[in-house]
Every structure is written in structure tokens, then in C-alpha cells.
Symmetry: C3
Subunit: 468 residues, 3 copies
């Protein structure tokens, strides 16, 4: 079976609706990609080294791919997870496992993305299967050796205008600076401030982390004031290197203030290893509120995606490390959790808060109502497990009626799989076009408005929500 | 761009299904409107004064309209919120803001309702836009000066048979009485008993409120017995003035009984300002159960719509007052919360309980299962944020399979926007017709049954659920 | 009105999609039925006595049927609930009530199943209505007297290959043994171990139950060790009689371990009636973890369907007994609840855990993510209130994108209504076909894959998930 990428894929089945959807899609398919939140490493572009083997590029680092193979009984080891550079044999083995288990991806976006990547990026003509595995591997490997498949060349071919990375507050952002200073490089690659680990005293290694933070900021973090100043300094460093947002993910979204003397006391106790669980929790929730305050001051958009139980399976964590496919969603609550924050900053000039969820019950119940009142709040695109055609449709239908089309962020790829970026944005544009065509078909929107809205969702919403 | 109200709007896109949906819709579009729950003021009809300016009629009091404009950056002040009668300049400014920001309503029911009102009630031909704002304003203002646009004339033109208002227990219901006694007035306008503020000792002003209640009931409310007797008396007053339901909204739906000596003790403590938060909470939950007991005795249908965080943004509350667009939903729980109530009264003769939710997860999980067993329980129409085409479709698909078509209330407009009533009911009839046509298309219902069901949803279900 | 069972019922309305759906359905409609979880009594087949009257067969024991009639005001007594064998008069009365209230089932799967049963199993041509009630009753009664309508004959006609029953741990499984040893009987009827009542010390009668358990296992259950050994022994007894799974349902899914000395202490206290509520809860949660341990050892698939408030209406429980239509869903939580269990056994060889829910919010948020990582976890088919066309479609669209098609169990009828089994499986096959056809129509799956997947969902997934 060849890979066949049908030009109408993901468009609505009804012939009349599809015809309009296709025209809408044609009007936006070629627009530049804005990627305001993702996990590509800036060094990839700064250094522009050729990619390694196909498995290291497309399988091992991508938990979307490895998790379903793991569920099907393939050990993560066989997929190259957590092993660093792979030998040719190891890479081929991983690739074969993928191809042998290709049917497990039926009905998933991973299948959709990978087929699009294989077909459109690498010109692969075979569908993955046991007997095509080696041929596809060879084809990709061959391509990866060509100059036109280096990161910068692909970046250009993908039509990316802005790419945001996600970075540790202690990162010196040298790669971002190098790109910004490189006259041969014209796109924007901007860092994102991601301070989670510095805000959670209950995490192993927190005390060391805040010491490192102090060094990076050249500030004494042995007390709470120094810690706050260090965070502020590192945020400034990020702003100076082009950052427009700070990204936050904790087990919940609460933002309860602490009197500063309590914050100071808990901070010291946590450094000494003496803080109780209740105290470290209270501290983290207080710090999320502090992050909002800093956002008001330095202008970084605050993005929030709470309610994930990280590393659900400790044995896998210990053997393979984090981000290996077993972060599992929890119920999310925003209404009461964010009330202290929004009471203070919800209508503050320039403050912007993007809410992501993987508990989709929050879309219509909390996120859309919040984004439909507060000028600061934006409904983040469906993300992670929900970044898939049917889930995106549920998001469209759940959020738009309450918050309209203008209060969403537009698409966010959130990926570490560089080569999947165009496939992901293309999927989103197809789904936007289908949704808008359906609204027109029911006479809820005029055709003219639908064309305008399709372009805005791609080119205006992300710029507005992320201050690009 | 002119407003074009397509005759097939909101009907399913598939041509075959649409053809049947259109026939179903044609069979019910002209039926009289039953509005068993809403927020129109009875004095409007009793006094029949001309409406004021277009902004005071269609924008300022309607938080559905103002919230999205606020999110788009328009201060509520500019929209006339909380300002009482508006000057011509202020009214025009508000109207212009609406027209300038018209695109923010794309995909929302507000846009749908307003376009239908503008087109069908006021004969406006232009779509709102910066350059049409003044022309539309003038057109509406002109119309509002005509006798045929007075409240009673519109009421007649809208084809409303029964309209329920929502009223404070201390209200003397003079307007309702005046209408009932007016030989020139033939429709039913009935009050609804809405006692929330008298049941929540934690609210500011509660002690004064129960004193007022005592005066209204001519009963000494300085102890719990008197308080109960006063509530019973005011309910009787409402029943005597045609009320058929009592409406309740608290942060949760719990109905845990208190021994009466505890209720009495907490009541006295609350009056003295000495009750703890736990006590006032327990008292409120107990009182919701008491309301059910009274409903068993006086026959008022009990309607319940819990789980909203009222006045989420205190600065807006302080400046503009309540009901200004920042009530935000919370997770709702009914199964355990209502168990004490349903254990006692769930099968009691004549007792009826209508459950509304804006947490749509409760539809299939709790509300439909409860309404599908208890003869007293009805699934309330999707309401507030969920009173929109896609949300209504989710309700239809989530509730019907478990509770059938007969255990729902039919449509409830719940609006304070008088002129939107026909547009709202029309929307519902279109969606009912589409849903039923889809069931027929899949051979889950015969065509004959679909026609019968369409008529029942409009003309039978609300009468049954609300005892009209 | 005659019953008309349209050949395309439940297939998608779009003509192009329907054509493919019909071909997919035709390819699987005749496959043998695998019923890996249900509530038919094995004695029915072992004894093969003629069924009683139509009401005792189709109404009284089926809470799906009686609950909506009860909601419509028909007393359960009139439907024969909890009355044992019915007189001819009582049976006819119950049957008439059903026919009189036939419209309350519009839009529900009960209507769909019953019409299919009446039409396809009993050859009834009339649709239930007041004036057809007696004629239909007579027709069914006549049929039930024929040898070809005895349980074994119907079982053969239904094309059932494997039927799992649900059984008390103390059951001697004589009926299963009789069937297994009967040379005239060739299908598999396997028991399922259902130990809930033995694991919940807070339930009335628990102490007596564990004594009975001790007797059945010939083990002294006066201490915790004996209790554990007795449970293990009874599981072995089930395994020896063909069981492949153990089924568990508690108010929540938590699996928190207790040190064994605490388990022992609580066990003794509970036997003496001295355990606190917190202790019995902790014990039950610990025991669910123990059940997983035993599953690892004896190979029984663990199936879990938590979060139901059993017997919501105590007066109905007292008068009519359990399983009479008032078990009401609660919110379900799996991510944290199952973490201790999955940390220990989530990747254990041979361990399998099937997760059912009637809180559909868990599908995309928790169940699909868990089933998409853990090789042990399967997403159970939508069940009970969710075993209906639209809910099944939501399941398909919520689970597949994250977990693919291979991590689901395939259909589970879970019914005590023997004659509804073919109708239920047929419904599922139609819905699978429709879903797959829609994926093909959007070019998300090839036609060839869709045919393969349709067959696997029926014939492979249940065998794999339930180790049939």
C-alpha cells in the first residue's frame, strides 16, 4: 500500500460543505507558520548539524509515538528511549518495531502526522509495514544526509516565521542570541521562560536548583527576597532575548496569596529541608500568583497548563527518565483556582493569560466563560492528548459559542518533533476550514466572514495572544 | 452587508436530513411561546411604557452581550452598564461600540439572537458595522417610539402564551395582580419565588433581609420557627398570584438535613452575626431541603441551577454591580447532593424538581439518570452558557438516550432581554427539528413520531414540567 | 404502525458514507458473538427450561426498561418488579403498561433493542401501543411455548460463541460445570468472579459473608490471612471452571496499600463490628490492590467499573430490592486512584486491567491516556447508561485518537436480558461500521484498513482483552 495523502483529508464528508471547506483551506494553507509554544531545541537551528538516523529523529524522543508502541508490548528500550545516540542496528530495530506495529496508530493523529511527514517531507511512497520498514528507513537516512534536509533548510521549507522554544530559566540562551545575531538567519526563534522546577520546593533537587538560579542571576537566593529578585532577573534576561511568554505547569492552577513573611519563612524552611507538604504546596500556589505579578511588570504572556500527573509510572521514570509517555491528565479546575489572580490582574493593562487544559470538561465550563469576560484571558488551543481532529472539533464547538473566535490562541503545536510541525499546522488549518464551512452551511456565518476568520485564526490570533 | 436570515438556518447541512427538518420546523414554528422561566420584569407589561433607547434595551442590561465586548477591551462603562437611564450620547456610544466589535460575536448565539431581533423585530436591513451603527440606531429608536413597539404590543406579536418572571419573596406582586385583573390583558404572566438571598446567612445583608421577610409576611422572624412560617406565607402569596415554581441557585446542590434545634440555634447565631462559616453552610443546605418540603405542600415546582461562582471579579462587582458578566461556572454534583432530598420526596405525589446545569458533564452522568428514574425529576433545558446551538445538540444527544424525550422541560429562555424571546424559542425549535430529523434519518424514530415529538417538546413538556 | 427494522438503521445519514458503512457492516454482521461480560444466569442454559411469560422475560428483571416507566409514573409493582413469578393477570398488566407508555422510550436504546427483539426474535409485526398490547403479548407467549424458543435453541440461533456470566465467589458453579460436561453443548459459558460484597466491610452482612466464604473455601476466615487464602482459593475454583476475569465495582477506584498488620487489625475489628468508617474504606481500597496482585498470580483479567451510587432511593431498595433502576453514576477518577496499582503491576507479565466508566469525562482524560501507555490497561466499551448510539460515538471519538483501535475491549453487552444480546451486538457493529466509514470518508483510514479493523473489533479485541 502506498501512502496516499488525499487533498481533501480531514475536510467534512458532506459534499457541499466540503467544497466550501476546500476553498477556505486553499486560502490559508500557504500562510506562514507561527509556532508560539513548542519544544524544539534552539541549538538545532543555531548549529544546523545534519539530523541523525530516522529513529532518533522520529521515534525515540517523541512520546506520542513511543507510548502506543509501549502499550502494544514493545519495550521502550527497543525504541531507543533514553539511550542517547543509537547504533545503526539499534536505530533500525526501533524503526522496524514502528513499522511492524503500524496498525496500532489507526485512528490517531500520530498516524496522520507521520504519514504526512513521510510523504511530504521525505517523499516516502510506501506505507509503513514489516516488509517496507528497511526501505523506508533507507530512504529517510539518505535524505537526512542531504544538505536540503538540514534543520535550517527544513525550517525554511516549512515556512516558519516565528518559533518559540521552551527553556530553563538558567539557560544562557546562547543559541537564541547566535540566531538573532546571525545575518544569514531571518526568522524569529524566541525563548520561553519555564520556571516550574524552581517554584516547587517539594521536588527533589529544588534547593540546588534555586542555588543555580542565584548563580545565573548573580543574586543571593538564600532568602525569599533574593529568590524573587533572581526570578525577575532571569525573566528580564529572557525578555532581552526575545521571549514573549512564560509557561507554567503544576498539578493544579491555584493562586492563593501568602503574606510575604510566611513566604519567606517557608522558603527558608524548604531550603533547610524542613518545610511540610502543606507549606510547599502553599508556597508553589503563592509563587504562581507572583509569576502573574511579574508578567504584569515585564509583559511576558503567562501560559498555564495544569492538572497532569507527571511520571505516573515510577519504574519507567527511573529507567528511562521523564517525558516518556506516562504523564496522565487529572481533573482541572480554573474558576476558583484563578480567582485570586484574576481579582488582582484580570483587567490589568497588558496582562495576558493563556489557559490550556487536557481535561476537556473545562472548555465549556470554565475556560470559555473566563476568556469571554476577562480581557486578559485567552483559550489555549487543544493540546497534547487533545491535539487531534475530533478533540479539536469538540474544542471548536465548546469554546466558540461562549468566547467567540477571537478569544482563542489559534493553533499551538507544542511539539518536540521538528519534522511534524508543518503536518500539525496543516491539520489545524484543515479543521478550522471544516468548522467554518459547517457554520456557513448552517447560515451561522457568511462566506465572507468565514474567509476572514480562517485567515485570522492562522495569522492574527497567535500574534495577539502571545504578543508575537 | 445586509442581514440575511436564511430560512434554513441552524438546520442540518445534509440535504436529505434538512428537507425533513424543515418540514418538522414548519409544523411547530407558529406554536405559542411558553416561557416558564425568565427575567423579564412584570411591570414592563403592567405599565406598558415605551422602551427607552436601543442601547438600554439591547445592550446595557444584557450580560450575554456586554461580556464579550468587555473581553475585547471595551469598558463596561462605555456600554452603559450600571448607569441607569442613558443620555442620547451615551446610548449612541454604547451602540457604536457594539457595531464596531461585531466580529467578536461570530460563532456565538448572541450574534444569532441579535441578528434575528434586528431583522425580524425591528426590520433592520444592515448588518452591524462601524459605518452602519448610527443608521441602525436611528431605525430602532424610530421604531421604539411607535405604539406597535410598546411591550404589550410586542408581547402579542411574539405569540407568548405564558411568561414566568423571577421575583423576590418580599415582592408584593402588584404588577402581576394588575395584569391578572386587567380585562384588556389575556396572557398569563406568573411570578416565580426566588428565595436564595434569604437562605444564605453568609451573605452580607442576610439579617436585614429576613427582617424584611418577616414584615412582608407579617410574622416575627426573630426565631427559626417564625422564619419558616414567613417563608411559607410568602410562598402562599406567590401561589395566590399564579406562581407555579420556586427557583434556587446556590454554589452547590447539597440538601443535608439538620435537626430543628440545630437549625434554630444556627439561625439565632446567624442573626447575631455569630455563626461560623460551616454553620451557615449547613443551614443553607438544610434550607434547600426545607424548600423541597414546602414544595410538596404548596405544589410549587422546585427548580435548581447550582454551581456558579457569582461575581468572580470583585472589582467589577463593586463598580458595576451583580449580573455583569462574571458569574463563572463550577463543577456540579447532583447524585450525592440530592440524595437526602430524593430519599424523602423523590416519589412524593405532585413533587417536581427541575435540574439545570452549566456543567455539561452532569447531563449524561447525573441528570439524565436521575430524571430517568424519579417521577419527580426533570432535566432542565441547557441554560445560560449552554443555551447555544452546539451545546443544545450535546444536551439532546447526552440526555435523550437515558431519559427519553418526555423527561425534559422543553425550552427555557431564562432571559432578561425581552426582544430576544422569539429568536431564542425559534432557535430551539430549529434545533429540535434538526435533532428529530437526524433520528429519523438513522431510522431510530419514525417520521410520524418525530412530528408528534416536535410538537410535544414545544407545547407539552414545559406545561408538564412547570405545571403551567 | 408496524415495526419496521430498516436495514440501514444507525448507519450515518450521508449517502456516500452510508454506502461504505453498509458494506463494512455486511462484512461483520454474521460473525459469532463474544460476550465477555454480562449477567445471564448459567442455570438458564444448564436447565434449558422454557421461559415464563413475556413480562417476566422482557420487563420485570430489566432495570433499563422499568426505570423509565417508573419515571413516567408507573409503580414498579405494576411491572412485576421484585414479585417473583407473575400470574397471567399480573404479567399482562405489566405488558400493557409497557405498551401504553411506549413513547417514553423514543430516542433511547431500550426502544431500539426491544423493537429489534420483538421483530427479529419473536416475529412481532405490531409496534407496541395500547391497542396492540394483548396481541403482542399473545404472540410472544405462544412463541415461548415452542421448543425453538428455549434458552439453548435461542443461544444457538443468536450465534453466541462465548458467554461470560457474573457470579458470587461462593457459587459452586455447578451450572457451568454441567454445561462444560454436557456433550450436547458446545459453546463456552464461563463464570466471572465478582467479590465486591466480600471486600466492603462497611456493607451490612459482610461478617456473615466472609464466614460463608470461609465455608466455601474450606478455610478459616477469622483472621486476615485466612480471608486472603479463602479469596485465592475461590478464584482458583473459578479459574478451574473456565473463568477468565474478575469483576469489581466500588464507589471509587482507589488502590492504596495497607501494611498487612493494619489490614489484619482492621479485618478483626470489622468482624467484631468495631471498625470505623475510615478503616473499612482503607481496607476496601487495600483489597482492590490485593485483587490485582491475585490477578497477576492466577491470570484473571481484572475489570473495574467504579463510581456508582448504588440504591440511590432507599425506599425503593427496601420495597423492591437492589438493581431496580436507581443506581446513579458519580464522578470517576482513575489517574491517581490507580497509581499504586499500576506502579506495582502496570507492566507485569500477563496482568490485564479493563477500565469501564459511566462518567464519560474519564474517556479522553484518563482512560485513553492510561490504555495508551500501560500494556495492561484496556479501555472498556461504553457501558450501562452509555451503551447507546450517541454515547458510543462519543466514546469512539474520545478514546481512539489517544489509544487507537487496538486498546479497547470491543463490545460488552453487560446485560441480564438474554433476548437482547443479538440486538445489542448488532447495534455495536452498526456503530463501528459507521465510525470506520467516517474515518475513511475523511481519508484518515483506507478502506482496506477499515474492513480489517471492523473485523478485529468484533473478533479479536474481546478475545485479547478478556483472554477468551
Amino acid at each position: 500500500m502506498p501512502i496516499h495523502l488525499h487533498p481533501d483529508r480531514l475536510l467534512p464528508a458532506d459534499p457541499g460543505v466540503r467544497a466550501l471547506a476546500r476553498r477556505l483551506y486553499d486560502s490559508v494553507r500557504g500562510l506562514a507558520i507561527l509556532s508560539p509554544h513548542g519544544h524544539v531545541d534552539a541549538r538545532l537551528l543555531a548549529e544546523d548539524e545534519p539530523f541523525g538516523d530516522p529513529a532518533s529523529l522520529l521515534i525515540s524522543p517523541d512520546h506520542y509515538v513511543t507510548r502506543l508502541l509501549h502499550a502494544a508490548g514493545v519495550p521502550l528500550h527497543d525504541l531507543g528511549v533514553g539511550r542517547g545516540p543509537l547504533s545503526e542496528t539499534a536505530a533500525r530495530t526501533a524503526w522496524r518495531r514502528l513499522c511492524e506495529h503500524w496498525p496500532v496508530f489507526r485512528g490517531t493523529p500520530v498516524r496522520y502526522w507521520l504519514e504526512t511527514e513521510l510523504g511530504e517531507v521525505f517523499g516516502v511512497e510506501d506505507r509503513p509495514a514489516p516488509d517496507t520498514a528497511d526501505r523506508i528507513y533507507d530512504r529517510i537516512a539518505e535524505r537526512l544526509a542531504e544538505p536540503s534536509f538540514r534543520p535550517r533548510a527544513l525550517f525554511g521549507r516549512f515556512g516558519i516565521d516565528v518559533l518559540a522554544t521552551t527553556d530553563d530559566p538558567c539557560d544562557d540562551l546562547a543559541a537564541h542570541r547566535a540566531l538573532a545575531e546571525d545575518p544569514a538567519w531571518r526568522a524569529r526563534v524566541v525563548p520561553t521562560f519555564r520556571p516550574d522546577r524552581y517554584l516547587e520546593p517539594e521536588r527533589a533537587g529544588w534547593a540546588k536548583a534555586v542555588m543555580r538560579l542565584g548563580e545565573a542571576a548573580d543574586t543571593d537566593t538564600s532568602d525569599y527576597d533574593g529568590y524573587i529578585r533572581a526570578l525577575e532577573a532571569r525573566r528580564r534576561h529572557f525578555v532581552e532575548h526575545g521571549a514573549t511568554s512564560a509557561d507554567h505547569s503544576h498539578a493544579d492552577a491555584r493562586t492563593d496569596p501568602l503574606p510575604s513573611r510566611d513566604a519567606d519563612r517557608i522558603y527558608r524552611a524548604a531550603l533547610a529541608g524542613d518545610a511540610t507538604e502543606a507549606e510547599t504546596l502553599a508556597f508553589r500556589r503563592h509563587m504562581l500568583l507572583e509569576m502573574a505579578r511579574m508578567s504584569c511588570e515585564d509583559g511576558l504572556v503567562m501560559t498555564l497548563h495544569p492538572a497532569v500527573r507527571r511520571n505516573h509510572h515510577p519504574p519507567t521514570l527511573h529507567r528511562y527518565g521523564p517525558d516518556t509517555g506516562h504523564d496522565i491528565p487529572l481533573r482541572a479546575e480554573f474558576t476558583d483556582a484563578l480567582r485570586p489572580l484574576l481579582e488582582r490582574y484580570g483587567t490589568a493593562d497588558g496582562f495576558q493569560l493563556v489557559l490550556f487544559t487536557i481535561d476537556e470538561t473545562a472548555f465549556s465550563r470554565e475556560i470559555a466563560p473566563l476568556a469571554g469576560f476577562y480581557p486578559s484571558v485567552y483559550a489555549g488551543a487543544p493540546w497534547w492528548f487533545l491535539d487531534a481532529p475530533d478533540a479539536i472539533r469538540r474544542f471548536q464547538r465548546s469554546v466558540t459559542e461562549t468566547a467567540g473566535l477571537s478569544r482563542t490562541t489559534g493553533f499551538v503545536d507544542d511539539t518536540r518533533a521538528f519534522c511534524s510541525i508543518p503536518a500539525r499546522h496543516d491539520m489545524s488549518r484543515r479543521l478550522d476550514s471544516g468548522f467554518l464551512a459547517e457554520l456557513v452551511a448552517e447560515h451561522r456565518l457568511t462566506e465572507e466572514e468565514a474567509f476572514e476568520a480562517a485567515a485570522e485564526l492562522v495569522a492574527v490570533n497567535p500574534r495577539r495572544a502571545f504578543k508575537l
